[in-house]
């Protein structure tokens, strides 16, 4: 018997009018010791399903469940909240995306871990005897042991720390330890790594797999990232609009997705190293509202292969034949589980085999075209640094003292040619956004010089010249909700830069604004809409329209797609690339998404703790990275097209993720990456490496570069 057996599980939200099904007739099972990943875009009902299985949703929303969810024979749907309180923690535990919010900020980690046990003493209570003191002592010992198991370097010290004293990755580890305090049989992890950097994500995923294998625990991991699922899952379940659309063993799903949605979702993830000369794949439209009345398949409006049947009768989850030899040939040896049943809810399943996917040798075929080396430099950064003062007060007083504060950008020098698509990658805190803001003159550099064309940015004085600079250099932000004024119509937002930077007024202004909407692919009807009526992707298009309103030469795109679903990400990047071709724009594209930047950028700069450590074109970077940090990033990057299975042994003990300790490295002398570097030698501790050319077009700041 399976550990968890879910059948016809439906979650209804009782709204003002008719109830809305957030999750509909979910059926799946999880075996003991199995790792199931539930994948889907935002709005697909993954989190709702998990919270409802825990019966936690009803505390925060007027939701009710029907159907059956048998956990070890006990029905979670029919159970009372008292019964559930007994099961939660002991049999089924959950970890959340935001560890900082899930941990109580007023209590030390140790107290929170011990508290988790006191509800369900279980075996611990029996072994420790009857006394309450004994139980607490036993719990403390167990907590320290678990903190060690989850990879916290100083478990005893950590017990007495408050959550805010730990870095994001450490908080997530502490939360995992807390979930494990009562030895649950089923662990549900809701996007546990989404808020983390790729390197820490890789460590947490490895940790989860190790714990799961060691304990023979069942795991359900919810993620929007096919790459994550590809690395750790035994089986993958794909959800769309509250329905399960496909489920099966991970290798089979990756090698030959049968549901069009699964296939589209996979194709939307950019292929590392395969420079996309054409457009990135996208899925048109967006996930339908759960209350939307759609007879038939809910994916039909976005499907490339929809027929009349698809729009009238909803397909049920049915077994689909698995093509012989698919998956097994290319994939690493299957997990300890027999190939499970392969189910898909589609009237016209995709053909089982896609031969073009085997084209591994086609990589870089196009990319070998030499990068535009001869072009004149347009944006030149020369030893640019930005220091933020330690406190807001000294910041506003304009303190220029060298000591104290944070050096957000340190001595960055690069020149970018006209028409180039320059990618800037790095972990959070690497200073890539600050550099973008410096280029766009939203902040002034502490030292160094920036010049755009023949204009030196820091010597820009006078309203007229600033206006002319703003016409040439524009910026697109990450936050799609925040970057548009909620009280202004789209038309007003788009025409704002025209009004402030040009003399276009009246009808010409409106005509230009409408033309801009058309350019970014939005219907004219959106001119008078409010931002709240638009989706994230549409709002980002508006932001792009704003940015190109005054025909700029250079656009700084600061994480323009990281708040968006993968199916929409491609749409935005395609718009940017089309504008690059049509208007001859130069881009500084800031992102933490390696797969994306490696497949669209001409050249890439890798930043670490404020410094540019490597600059090279995408092909060189993938094939032969020179800086060890670049290699660490590449190894941590989840890629469903070329999955690197995480097993308990794939941890890289030397290349630790960036956390509060490694970020505190003394940056005044030596290499800033030395604490995480596997190639560290004595010279790295004393001498700062300069950015030097290793081979034509490839610069790296390392004493002992790879190759």
């Amino acid at each position: 018997m399976s550990l968890l057996d879910v059948a016809d599980f439906t979650v209804d939200l009782d709204g003002e009018e008719a109830p809305i099904s957030l999750v509909r007739e979910l059926s799946f099972s999880v075996e003991r010791g199995e790792f199931l990943c539930i994948v889907g875009e935002s709005g697909s009902g993954k989190t709702v399903a998990a919270l409802s299985l825990m019966r936690l949703l009803e505390f925060t929303a007027p939701a009710s469940q029907t159907g059956e969810a048998l956990l070890d024979g006990e029905d979670l749907v029919a159970a009372s909240q008292e019964t559930m309180a007994g099961l939660r923690g002991r049999k089924i535990a959950m970890i959340f995306q935001e560890a900082m919010e899930a941990l109580n900020p007023t209590k030390v980690i140790g107290a929170q871990l011990i508290e988790a046990v006191q509800q369900h003493p279980g075996e611990l209570g029996e072994s420790a005897g009857s006394g309450r003191r004994g139980l607490v002592e036993a719990a403390r010992a167990k907590a320290v042991d678990l903190l060690r198991q989850v990879g916290i370097p100083d478990p005893v010290g950590c017990m007495g720390k408050y959550p805010h004293q730990l870095s994001g990755g450490m908080q997530q580890r502490a939360m995992i330890a807390m979930a494990l305090m009562c030895d649950p049989e089923l662990l549900i992890a809701d996007e546990p790594t989404t808020a983390l950097d790729v390197t820490i994500q890789a460590e947490i995923l490895t940790l989860l797999v190790r714990l799961q294998r060691e304990r023979g625990m069942a795991c359900i991991l919810i993620t929007h990232d096919m790459g994550v699922a590809a690395e750790i899952a035994d089986r993958v379940a794909v959800m769309y609009s509250g329905r399960l659309v496909e489920i099966g063993p991970v290798q089979e799903i990756l090698a030959s997705p049968r549901h069009p949605y699964t296939r589209a979702l996979l194709e939307c993830v950019p292929r590392v190293g395969l420079i996309a000369q054409k457009e990135l794949k996208t899925i048109p439209g967006s996930v339908p509202h759960p209350g939307m009345h759609l007879p038939g398949c809910r994916f039909a409006p976005r499907c490339h292969n929809a027929s009349d049947r698809c729009t009238s009768v909803e397909p049920a989850l049915t077994p689909v034949p698995v093509a012989v030899g698919v998956g097994a040939a290319a994939a690493p040896p299957a997990a300890a589980f027999p190939p499970g049943e392969r189910l898909a809810a589609c009237w016209h399943p995709e053909p089982a085999l896609q031969p073009q996917d085997a084209g591994e040798s086609a990589r870089f075929a196009d990319a070998l075209v030499a990068p535009s080396g001869g072009a004149e430099p347009y944006l030149v950064l020369d030893a640019v640094s930005k220091r933020y003062a330690a406190s807001a007060r000294s910041e506003s007083l304009g303190s220029r003292r060298a000591s104290g504060g944070v050096l957000a950008v340190d001595n960055a020098s690069v020149s970018i040619a006209k028409g180039e698509f320059f990618g800037l990658v790095g972990e959070s805190g690497s200073g890539k956004s600050t550099l973008g803001r410096l280029i766009a003159k939203l902040e002034a550099p502490t030292s160094g010089s920036i010049s755009v064309g023949d204009v030196s940015v820091e010597q820009l004085k006078g309203r007229k010249r600033v206006r002319s600079f703003r016409r040439d250099v524009q910026i697109v932000f990450q936050d799609t909700t925040g970057s548009l004024d909620p009280r202004q119509t789209i038309g007003r937002s788009v025409s704002e830069p025209l009004r402030s930077l040009t003399d276009v007024r009246g009808e010409a202004l409106e005509a230009r604004a409408k033309e801009l909407l058309e350019t970014v692919g939005l219907p004219l009807a959106y001119f008078s809409k409010m931002p709240s009526e638009l989706s994230g992707g549409q709002r980002q298009r508006v932001a792009i329209a704003r940015a190109i309103a005054c025909d700029p030469r250079l656009v700084v795109a600061d994480e323009p797609t990281s708040a968006l679903d993968v199916s929409v990400q491609g749409q935005i990047v395609n718009v940017l690339r089309r504008l690059q071709r049509e208007l001859g724009l130069t881009y500084v594209f800031i992102t933490h998404n390696l797969s994306l930047v490696l497949s669209v950028a001409d050249r890439i700069g890798v930043m670490y703790l404020g410094a540019l450590v490597e600059i090279a074109d995408a092909a060189t970077l993938v094939r032969a990275p020179a800086h060890p940090y670049t290699q660490v990033l590449l190894q941590a990057n989840p890629d469903p097209h070329n999955p690197r299975r995480r097993t308990p042994d794939t941890a890289h003990p030397q290349a630790l993720g960036l956390d509060s300790e490694t970020a505190l490295v003394d940056r005044t002398q030596g290499c800033r990456f030395r604490d995480r570097c596997p190639r560290r030698q004595e010279r790295c501790d004393v001498e700062s490496p300069e950015l030097t050319e290793r081979q034509p077009g490839q610069f790296a700041a390392c004493h002992f570069p790879l190759n």
């Binding site: 009782d14 008719a18 925060t60 976005r302």
Partner: protein
Amino acid sequence: MSVEAVLIKNEEPGVVGDQRPPRRGRFSGWRRGLSGLWQRDAPAVIWAVVLLLMVLVSALGPFFLTSPDAIEPANRLMPPSADHPFGTDEYGRDLLSRVVSAGRVSLGLGILITVVAVVMGTLVGSVAGFYERSSGVLMRLMDALMAFPAIVLAIALVISLRSGIWSEIIALGVVFIPYVARVVRSRVLTLRERGYVTAARAAGVSGPRILLTHILPNAAPAILVQAVFVYASALLADAALSFLGLGVQPPTPTWGNMIGEARTFITLAPGFMIFPGLAIVISVMALNLVGDGARGLIDQRARAVLELERVRKKQGKEQRRRRSPAAPAVD
């Protein structure tokens, strides 16, 4: 995705077509809006109606009632009767028409005081919030104003300005400036960090323009709510000043100076004091409750919680009904 996001998520009309669920319900348009307000916060709606009635009666009443200054020496300090529903005062003037026309003066004064406080407070608060360097000086000035008890400061100002309607308006307006300024400054401080403000900067929009076109419109709901509370406080302060004889001078009636006149006759004619007193209590209470309701309306989080409570109440009732016959079977 948080659950709250599920509750208040605003799904968009996609390229595929409008995917919002069709709206169902009895009402449409403004009537639907009203019924929504009623369901969300019925007391606030009732008190808003009360407030509206008071304003209407004060504004239109004097056209239908006897003059508030008509003296009837024969009928002094009469208890309520058919001729004089509220009774009469020490000169035999009709108390009903005096309370109504006092309402006109008091409510009108309150509005003017509020306007002064809101305009000045918004100016000070937005400048202090937007231009960091000015914050220290301006806000310490506001702190200094707040350090005095409101009524003492008002008395001092009125006395130094010579008593009269305009000096009272200015005095009380100044007293309430900090209450508006602090709210506006805190809103401006959060709003100026929003993406669209940075975006406007990048688009070359000048500072004052950003303040006017992006920040103030988005701060407006909070300012309006605070204005309602200031209005309530202004009514009370005005009553106190008039009671002390520092506000509007007799024979023009205000609720405050009526109570002041009545205090000598409190045992002889309690109605003389009770009716203007009630008018003050009801209007101040109505303003405070309407302000609370309005605050709930603009606060998205509070809205989601209220909604949840309402639905859960409904759900609880249904569940009790459903479960009652089979209660022991559960668990």
